[in-house]
């Protein structure tokens, strides 16, 4: 990068654009080309696992650290941190390499020919008897290498057991070999999340380029970075990323790509300046806002599909879910909370003291009160603040104006998103406190109304808090989902697995009675989070999912992810048709099938009768025929 370019274009903008995987320029997203990005943004975000590897390297404890996980989950970055810590460099080849005296690294076992892998693994593990070896390999390759009987050099059975435990629990130690599953790393972990956000938004990176229009027309890129430094905005984004990562195995690379797209999109400083020069305040609008780009704004649907994380975030429905009060604030912000009025660009609202509030005194007319491009929406050939758009559709007496305003409000046009969607998205991020906090904002503006509650529940479980009441709610919801019978008084009702095929919780048709296989007392149920113990010490984890276990047996457990929790909570609260997915019913069928196979049947034949008032389990007595009678 030349000095002239640096002056004309803020280096962080160039770097973030190359980190995005959504446009042609995505070189920085790949480790081989990461150096130029690192020169601007700094070294890798320090993960807990990289820290552990460096600490282990500094000690003299012999053994092996085997990192397993999907491509892109950061195994190479940990290896690089380890090499640095022992004063070596990451090997260029894949063979076992002694990077320092007695310190061996296998960068990627799958990079070797299939026939060479077992030998390489044996070599590295042999070196770990007296020294240290760090081995990176995905699960399939490791399994293949560990097939076959134990030999004098390699106790394959024991290692297979360790690998299996690590895949289930996230990490496991067998002898001196420590397995860590990098798939369990979550970008939203308490320690990692702020580091990731700081990595791309810290003030030192956003000082402004030569001729930056931030003081005149404003700069959407800097406004995005400013907002993403706010703790409340970060927490809201974290909720969406949690949802996205619940449905995919996320990589830091992909999280950074989504953040990069949210902040800079396809824009450059040059383009921002040209827009400001040519069109003034009309040049940039909320369409360039982080709040819409984070969920795929500005990208064609086919491009969003390529990112499992962004696709998952988009499934939150943010922008599509309506809330009467939030939509009403757009049309008339007079009685709205001060923060909402400020977000709308209401000229009478007091100016917040955030860093974003560095716009000059604003002009009269439809853009009066604007504080940054984030409060402007395109209306016809010009632009207006959210406040002015609301006034236009609510009070303007010219039907043509009203029509124009309504179009801008509800219809996307070209690159511009619908004003109403932009408004809901921005309110979700920047005025969550006025919606009842993060939980309230999720309940009101997301399709996943109970996501924040699930995170709270997972945290409570991880911290060992009392969750008996929550457990009862879960049982009530599950009972309704599978039998239409909503009481928790009989414990967890296990229907005959066949009867689950007659159940459609999404249907308005009342549930039919189900035959009961067994009832499990609530006292036999426990909640757990998947990532506990050793894995939490090694990897940045973030409890989002919850496991419901019967008798503490992992084989009789149900993994409750956001969508499943949504269905359970809706069933518990409304006891009517609930929106459930095929995947959830499939999971439930699997869970109850395992229970039916693993718990004793009730001695009496019972039917869960949803229409009984109150709902009840009724006994079915079968006919009793006298022996030997008949024709």
């Amino acid at each position: 990068m030349t000095a002239n370019q640096a002056a004309d274009e803020l280096p962080v903008v160039t770097a973030l654009r190359s980190l995005s995987i959504f446009t042609a320029d995505q070189s920085g997203a790949y480790r081989e080309h990461f150096a130029s990005v690192a020169a601007v943004l700094g070294d890798d975000v320090p993960t807990r696992l990289a820290g552990y590897a460096a600490q282990w390297a500094a000690g003299q404890q012999a053994g092996a650290l085997v990192l397993t996980g999907n491509a892109g989950t950061g195994k190479t970055a940990v290896a690089e941190a380890y090499c640095r810590a022992v004063g070596g460099v990451l090997p260029t080849g894949e063979r076992p390499t002694e990077v320092a005296a007695g310190r061996w690294v296998v960068k990627d076992l799958s990079g070797l020919a299939e026939s060479a892998r077992p030998g390489a693994l044996e070599q590295a593990l042999a070196a770990a008897v007296t020294g240290q070896a760090l081995i990176c390999a995905n699960e399939g390759v490791l399994r293949d290498c560990l097939r076959g009987p134990a030999t004098a050099d390699l106790d394959r059975d024991r290692l297979r057991g360790g690998l299996d435990s690590a895949l289930r629990a996230g990490a496991a130690r067998t002898g001196t070999v420590l397995f860590a599953n990098t798939n369990r790393q979550r970008p939203t972990a308490d320690r990692l999340w702020p580091l990731l956000l700081d990595y791309v938004t810290r003030p030192a990176l956003w000082t402004g380029c030569t001729g930056c229009p931030v003081d005149s027309a404003g700069c959407a890129l800097r406004a995005n970075a400013d907002q993403l430094r706010r703790a409340d905005v970060r927490e809201q984004l974290r909720t969406l990323v949690r949802l996205g990562t619940g449905q995919a195995v996320p990589t830091l690379r992909e999280v950074l790509a989504v953040l990069s797209w949210a902040i800079v999109g396809p824009s450059s400083c040059r383009q921002v300046k040209e827009d400001a020069r040519d069109r003034g305040l009309d040049g940039q609008t909320a369409t360039a806002g982080y709040f819409t780009r984070a969920v795929g704004g500005g990208l064609p649907a086919e491009t969003v599909e390529r990112s499992p994380l962004m696709s998952g975030m988009r499934r939150s429905g943010l922008g599509d879910v309506s809330d009467l009060e939030v939509d009403g604030w757009l049309r008339d912000s007079t009685g709205a909370p001060e923060r909402v009025r400020a977000v709308s660009g209401n000229p009478d609202a007091s100016r917040p003291s955030s860093a974003a509030d560095d716009a000059p005194a604003t002009p009269a007319g439809p853009l009066a009160g604007t504080r940054s491009p984030l409060d402007r929406v395109r209306v016809g050939a010009g632009s207006r603040t959210f406040y002015s758009l609301g006034e236009m559709v609510s009070t303007d007496e010219d039907p043509a104006h009203v029509d124009l305003g309504l179009r801008a409000l509800v219809e996307a046009s070209g690159d511009d998103a619908a004003g109403q969607s932009l408004w809901r998205q921005r309110i979700f991020f920047e005025a969550s406190a006025d919606l009842g906090g993060p939980g309230g904002a999720a309940r009101r503006l997301l399709d996943y109304r109970h996501l924040v509650d699930l995170v709270d529940l997972a945290r409570a479980v991880a911290e060992g808090e009392d969750t008996v009441l929550k457990l009862q709610d879960l049982v009530r919801g599950l009972n309704f989902l599978v039998t239409g019978f909503s009481s928790p008084d009989e414990g967890l009702v296990v229907p005959d697995p066949a009867c689950l095929f007659a159940r459609d919780p999404g249907s308005f048709r009342p549930a039919r009675p189900s035959l009961v296989h067994a009832r499990i007392a609530v006292s036999r149920l426990t909640l757990a989070v998947p990532d506990q113990g050793l894995v939490a010490e090694l990897v940045d984890v973030d409890p989002v999912d919850v496991d419901l276990l019967v008798d503490g047996d992992p084989l009789k457990s149900l993994r409750i992810r956001p969508r499943m929790y949504e269905a359970i909570r809706e069933a518990q609260q409304f006891q009517g048709p609930v929106g459930q997915g095929v995947a959830e019913m499939s999971d439930l069928r699997g869970f109850y099938g395992r229970l039916a196979a693993g718990v004793d049947r009730d001695t009496e034949l019972r039917v869960a009768q949803p229409e009984a008032s109150p709902p009840a389990l009724l006994q079915v007595r079968l006919p009793h025929f006298a022996a030997g009678s008949g024709t």
Partner: protein, 527 residues
């Protein structure tokens, strides 16, 4: 098959649709036979033969099972109606009265809340069979004690003999008996082990402890031993069993054993879920077998031998993949017609060149004869009789075409469509039908391949191309004529949409390196 006046079974017309279809596919297929009947007939055959192949074909036990007591309760129809003699239910009622009480869910011999059991069982009726009359309703194949054969009610007869229900061939046509043979005693020895493992797993799943089974067992025990009629094995049933040993079914046997084993031994699914997938997979395997036979008979170019799965849901006009899928289904219809004509022509020639040619008019089914003008000099049978055999191939083709156009030979293609329809593979209403699998069927495909799971979505598409000739994305379309009709980006988008469906159905997980891993849950745990 109706018995002749002499008691000898009347020979099957050699040019009738049944015989031509058997000749063409080495398997019976009928337009009324859906996945439900095929599966239940297979399971009944396995069950009545105690999960092992009979030592001799003569020892084959018919799959005809009544289960009229539990059936009366489940369906709400008195299947014991007209049986007024004797006492059952512990000597408390006639069979007719017992059936009546059960069909109304009323108390019998100290029972209570049988109406609730009726409601629960009614929810388990296979929805695909509910379009027919009550005698053909089947429960989902979740337990051995809930399986029964098609029933018909015979009309009242003179002498005051009331109308009675009995089981008889209606929609079950013997295909299930052939499938049972393929599992128990496949013509290809290399899959015997897979077949045995599949049958053992099916046995375990169908006989697991269940309250449903308790109800069935108690109610059936109310009918005294020997009350239920024993149905002797018909010659046509033995013939269906024999067909299962035909070497031409070797590939179907390999597929059925492999897929049944895959479905039944997968991880993470309940027994009913596995059995429901088995129903889909058996039907799909049969459908693909008959399609491949049609392609082979008509020497269809390899580039045309596939079905295109469209994943969209948008407007038809804007979905070129869906439109292409429609056209491919249309092309399949033509191939079936051609295959039937070719087989009919070959059979005519073969009969004509026998030392003693048959009576041609007897070689068509009775109901065909009028349409084929057998009494008319211009009719097909008359022309065949007047022909000097062997005639030029074109002449046989001409007569076969005439016969196929005027009589009921379309049942092969209709049967194929019916099978696809009953597993949910056909979408698009009645006019613009195309192939698009619902999540349940995708689950069955994933389950059938459980021995190879997990795999990337690309490998999965490649596997379902190999196993069932189904094309999804650009890579699996290699070697087909799709390159001429669709551009690669459209197929890639189709592949991504399929990934999305797989993911939302819990059958796959999207990884951030842009691969989608299919079948993580169903894979076998072998460590």
């Amino acid at each position: 098959m109706k018995a002749a006046a002499t008691g000898e079974p009347k020979p099957e017309p050699l040019l009738g649709p049944n015989r031509i279809i058997e000749e063409l596919f080495a398997l019976g297929i009928d337009r009324d036979e859906t996945a439900s009947q095929l599966c239940v007939e297979t399971l009944l055959t396995l069950s009545t033969n105690e999960w092992h192949p009979p030592a001799d074909e003569k020892l084959l036990v018919s799959p005809k099972v009544e289960r009229f007591a539990i059936r009366s309760l489940a369906v709400g129809v008195n299947f014991l109606a007209g049986q007024g003699d004797g006492l059952v239910a512990g000597g408390t009622a006639t069979p007719d009265a017992y059936g009546e009480l059960l069909s109304r869910g009323r108390a019998v011999a100290g029972s209570s809340n049988l109406d609730l059991a009726h409601e629960a069982l009614l929810g388990l009726v296979d929805p695909d069979t509910q379009k027919a009359h009550h005698g053909n309703w089947l429960l989902r194949p979740f337990h051995e004690s809930l399986l029964w054969y098609d029933a018909r009610r015979s009309p009242a007869q003179r002498g005051g003999i009331p109308a009675r229900w009995g089981v008889r061939k209606a929609h079950m046509r013997g295909g299930g008996i052939t499938l049972a043979r393929l599992l128990l005693d496949p013509p290809s020895a290399d899959v015997e082990v897979l077949g045995r493992r599949a049958v053992d797993a099916i046995h375990r799943a169908l006989t697991a402890s269940s309250p449903l089974a308790d109800i069935s067992d108690v109610l059936e025990s109310g009918l005294s031993a020997g009350h239920a009629r024993a149905y002797p094995t018909e010659e046509s049933e033995r013939r269906s069993w024999r067909l299962g040993g035909d070497p031409r079914l070797g590939e179907l046997a390999r597929r059925v054993c492999r897929h049944a084993e895959g479905v039944m031994l997968q991880n993470g699914a309940s027994d009913p879920a596995k059995l429901w997938q088995l129903r889909s997979v058996l039907a799909l395997d049969v459908a693909v077998h008959v399609l491949q036979a049609a392609w082979s008979t008509t020497e269809t170019p390899a580039a045309e031998q596939y079905l295109l799965l469209a994943f969209g849901g948008g407007a038809r006009a804007a979905d070129p993949v869906r439109q292409r899928s429609e056209r491919i289904l249309g092309r399949v219809r033509v191939r079936f017609q051609e295959a039937v004509v070719l087989t009919l022509a070959n059979q005519m020639r073969e009969l004509g060149t026998r030392p003693k040619p048959p009576a041609w008019s007897d070689q068509f089914e009775l109901r065909q004869r009028k349409k084929l003008g057998t009494g008319d000099d211009e009719g097909v049978a008359s022309q065949l009789a007047g022909l000097r055999h062997p005639a030029p191939r074109e002449k046989y083709l001409e007569l076969a075409q005439a016969a196929a156009e005027s009589a009921d030979y379309g049942r092969a293609e209709l049967g194929f469509r019916r099978l696809l329809d009953s597993v949910g593979l056909l979408a698009g209403g009645s006019t613009y039908r195309y192939t698009s699998p619902p999540p349940e069927l995708l689950g069955a495909l994933v389950g059938a391949l459980s021995a190879r799971m997990p795999m990337s979505s690309t490998e999965f598409y490649s596997a379902i191309r190999d196993e069932w000739g189904l094309v999804v994305d650009q890579e699996s379309a290699e070697g087909t004529d799709l390159e001429t009709y669709l551009d690669g980006a459209q197929l890639e988008r189709n592949g991504r949409r399929a990934e999305r469906l797989l993911t939302s159905a819990g059958l796959a997980v999207g990884l951030s390196d842009r691969t989608t891993l299919v079948g993580e849950q169903s894979r076998r745990v072998d460590l």
